[in-house]
Symmetry: C2
Subunit: 143 residues, 2 copies
């Protein structure tokens, strides 16, 4: 039997993630943000001054990916890298006032994007959907 992409979870996941990212990007572009920057800000709004290694752990991306994202965020005036007095290898990542001010509008934009995607889902379907995605993630994580 042929491999049908419409029935492939991986294919659908890819397409869905691209649409989420595209929609979010459109909404936060006026704020001067890109999706990975927003994701990183989520962690820093929650706790400022984290080390790069801790951001890598919390966001589950490769270290090199995070290093590059942080470089772009520094360029764009969203973060500062400050030396860590206790450990000459690491740097604490601190938010600028500009980044702090973006918290409300950016999270509002992200909520709106999720709402667009799940507009016709019932509350139960939303819970089910999130739970199934978490399980698929956990299964691939293990492997």
């Amino acid at each position: 039997m042929a491999f049908q992409k419409e029935r492939s979870a991986g294919y659908l996941a890819n397409q869905m993630a691209r649409l989420f990212a595209k929609g979010l990007h459109e909404r936060i572009r006026p704020l001067g943000l890109a999706p990975a920057q927003f994701m990183t800000l989520l962690a820093l709004w929650d706790e400022d001054g984290l080390a790069q290694s801790e951001l890598v752990r919390r966001l589950d991306v490769e270290q090199a990916t995070m290093a590059n994202t942080l470089t772009r965020m520094e360029r764009d005036g969203l973060i500062e890298r400050r030396a860590n007095p206790d450990d000459g290898r690491s740097q604490a990542i601190h938010l600028t006032p500009r980044a702090k001010a973006l918290r409300d509008p950016a999270t509002t934009a992200a909520r709106a994007q999720n709402e667009t995607a799940l507009a016709e889902f019932t509350d139960e379907e939303r819970q089910t959907f999130l739970a199934l995605m978490r399980r698929a993630i956990a299964a691939m994580h293990k492997d």
Copy 2:
């Protein structure tokens, strides 16, 4: 209330898609394939000789993205671009023997990746999951 990434469909979709892509990439790397190349091959195994514009329609990526993917596939000996005698603008994309030979091992690899992700899902959960993803995709597509 804080925006919690663990409860965000978009965040989970991104993470899940990255894990699918990474797992698939590992499995098809020995075949000399990358994920977007595999996706493109799916369409061409189904129907050889399509125009680039038709591939764009079927795979729902931007035209520039497809043009670049095809350039890499041509470089890697997977496809040939042949002039279309009926329309001087378009070119028919044809599979090489090498690409044709990859159909079985590559689709087997993709199925294995899907199976890893959904290993602990019941048949009903799998159907539900695919249906919910399709609905989220359709909702974002409309908007």
